[in-house]
C-alpha cells in the first residue's frame, strides 16, 4: 500500500490529560484520522500513533516532555479505551476504529 492521499485511515479519538494538553495547544480531545498502516505497510500500532502525533499535532517545542528516544517518556500513562496499555500489549497494540487513546501525565503534587 502506498502513502497516497487515498490511503485508508482509522478514525480514533486521542485525549490528553494531567497537564499534557498544554503540549497540544491546550486542547484535551482530538479526532484523529490515523493512516491504517505505517510506511512499511504494517498495521498502525501505538508506536506509530505516538510518532504520528509528534509529527502532526504537537504544538510545543518541548517534544521531550512527551517522547524520549521515540518512546513515551516515563511518567506518562497510556490508556487504551480506559485500560492501562500494559493490559493490551503496550506499543504493539494495533489500533482499532473508534478506539480512544488517553495520554495522562502522572501527578505528584498534593
Amino acid at each position: 500500500m502506498t502513502n497516497s492521499l487515498e490511503a485508508p485511515t482509522i478514525p480514533i479519538t486521542v485525549d490528553f490529560s494531567g497537564g499534557l494538553e498544554m503540549l497540544f495547544d491546550n486542547q484535551r480531545r482530538y479526532a484523529v484520522s490515523l493512516p491504517a498502516t505505517d510506511a512499511n505497510g504494517k498495521p498502525a500500532n501505538i508506536s506509530f500513533l505516538i510518532d504520528h502525533l509528534c509529527r502532526t499535532l504537537m504544538k510545543d517545542p518541548r517534544a521531550d516532555l512527551f517522547v524520549l528516544d521515540r518512546h513515551i517518556r516515563p511518567g506518562i500513562l497510556v490508556l487504551i479505551n480506559d485500560a492501562d496499555w500494559e493490559l493490551e500489549g503496550e506499543e504493539a497494540y494495533e489500533i482499532q476504529p473508534r478506539d480512544n487513546i488517553l495520554f495522562v501525565s502522572t501527578l505528584h503534587g498534593g
Binding site: G19, G75, H108, G109, G110
Partner: protein, 310 residues
C-alpha cells in the same frame, strides 16, 4: 481482641449515629473505625480535607506526618489551617482543628520529614496509610514500606486542574506472592518516575483548591470504607471483593465549562506485576536495606524533593 465487642458510649452514639445507620456500616463498622490507626502523610491540600472526614468519622488513632509550617499561600486550599496559625507546624495546626471538630480520637503528631530512616518505624504503628505528599521520591518510599509492612495505601495527587486517586496494596498481600490475583503497589502502576525537569512543578503550575480538595475527601472516603469493612485485613473473602479491579480515578477541572462527561474517568489498571521491583517475585527490597539507604529514592527520581508544598 479487636475491641469490636464493646459498647459505644452515649457520646459516640450521638456523634456517629448518622453514619452508623448507613447500610453496611452499623455498629460493627463504627467500632472497626474506632479501633483503627490511620496515618496521614502530608498535612497540606490533600491531608487537610482528608483529615477532617477521617476525624469526623471517628477513626480512633490518627497520626499526621509533616515537617512544614503554615504559610499564607497555603490557606486557599489547606482548609484545616487558619490565618492565626501561620508559622505553626502544620501537624500541630491541623490537629488543633481536628480536635476541635472531634475530641474523641487520639491524635499523634510526627512533625518531621518522612525518610528512608524513619518511614518503617512510623508506618508500622498504623493500619492504613494515606499518601498526601507532594513529590515522587516520597511516594515511592511510602509505597515500598507499605508493601513490606503489608499496609493498604490510599494515594492521591493533584496539580493545577487535575487530580488522581488510587487504592494500592489492598487487601495487602506479602511481597513476592504473585501466583494469583493480587493488588498492585505504586511501582506496579507507575514503574518509572518522570525524568528530572519533565514534571510541571506545582510552584509554576499552581493549584485550584477544590481540585485538591476533591481528591483529599475522596481519599478519606476510600480509607473509611476500607477500615469499616475490614477490606485491609488479608483474607480470601477480602481478595474476592472487587478491589481486584484496580482503578485510577482521574479528575479534570475545566475553568471554561461546567462539569461534564470527561470530568471524571475511572481507568482500569493491572494487578500486581510478577517483575515488580517492590512486590514482585524476585524482589530484593527489604526494610533493612531501605533504612541503610538502598534504594536511593532521591537518585531514582533524579529530582530534589519538591520545594512547593501543595
Amino acid at each position: 481482641h479487636d475491641g469490636c465487642g464493646r459498647r459505644l458510649s452515649d457520646g459516640e452514639f450521638d456523634r456517629y449515629s448518622r453514619q452508623m445507620i448507613v447500610p453496611g456500616m452499623g455498629k460493627e463498622g463504627q467500632l472497626r473505625l474506632i479501633n483503627s490507626r490511620l496515618l496521614i502523610i502530608g498535612a497540606g491540600g490533600l491531608g487537610c480535607p482528608a483529615g477532617q472526614y477521617i476525624a469526623g468519622a471517628g477513626v480512633g488513632t490518627i497520626g499526621i506526618v509533616d515537617s512544614d509550617v503554615v504559610e499564607t499561600s497555603n490557606l486557599h486550599r489547606q482548609v484545616g489551617h487558619a490565618t492565626a496559625r501561620i508559622g505553626m507546624k502544620k501537624v500541630d495546626s491541623l490537629i488543633t482543628h481536628l480536635r476541635g471538630l472531634n475530641p474523641l480520637p487520639t491524635y499523634i503528631p510526627h512533625p518531621f520529614h518522612i525518610t528512608s530512616s524513619n518511614a518503617a518505624d512510623i508506618i508500622s504503628q498504623y493500619d492504613l496509610v494515606m499518601d498526601c505528599t507532594d513529590n515522587p521520591a516520597t511516594r515511592y518510599l511510602i509505597s515500598d514500606i507499605c508493601v513490606l509492612l503489608c499496609k493498604p495505601l490510599v494515594s492521591a495527587a493533584s496539580v493545577q486542574k487535575s487530580g488522581q486517586l488510587i487504592v494500592l496494596n489492598c487487601p495487602p498481600a506479602p511481597q513476592g506472592l504473585v501466583d494469583g490475583k493480587y493488588p498492585p503497589c505504586y511501582r506496579c502502576c507507575f514503574r518509572k518516575p518522570p525524568p528530572a525537569g519533565s514534571m510541571i512543578s506545582c510552584g509554576e503550575a499552581g493549584i485550584m483548591g477544590p481540585v485538591v480538595g476533591m481528591m483529599g475527601v475522596a481519599q478519606a472516603g476510600e480509607a473509611i470504607k476500607i477500615l469499616a469493612s475490614a477490606l485491609h485485613v488479608p483474607s480470601q473473602d477480602s481478595l474476592e471483593r472487587n478491589l481486584l479491579q484496580p482503578t485510577l480515578l482521574i479528575y479534570t477541572y475545566d475553568l471554561e465549562s461546567a462539569v461534564g462527561p470527561y470530568s471524571f474517568r475511572a481507568l482500569k489498571m493491572g494487578g500486581r506485576k510478577k517483575n515488580c521491583f517492590a512486590c514482585g517475585e524476585n524482589s530484593t527490597l527489604t526494610l533493612s536495606g531501605i533504612k541503610a539507604g538502598s534504594p536511593n529514592y532521591e537518585q531514582f527520581c533524579s529530582v530534589p524533593t519538591s520545594s512547593c508544598k501543595l
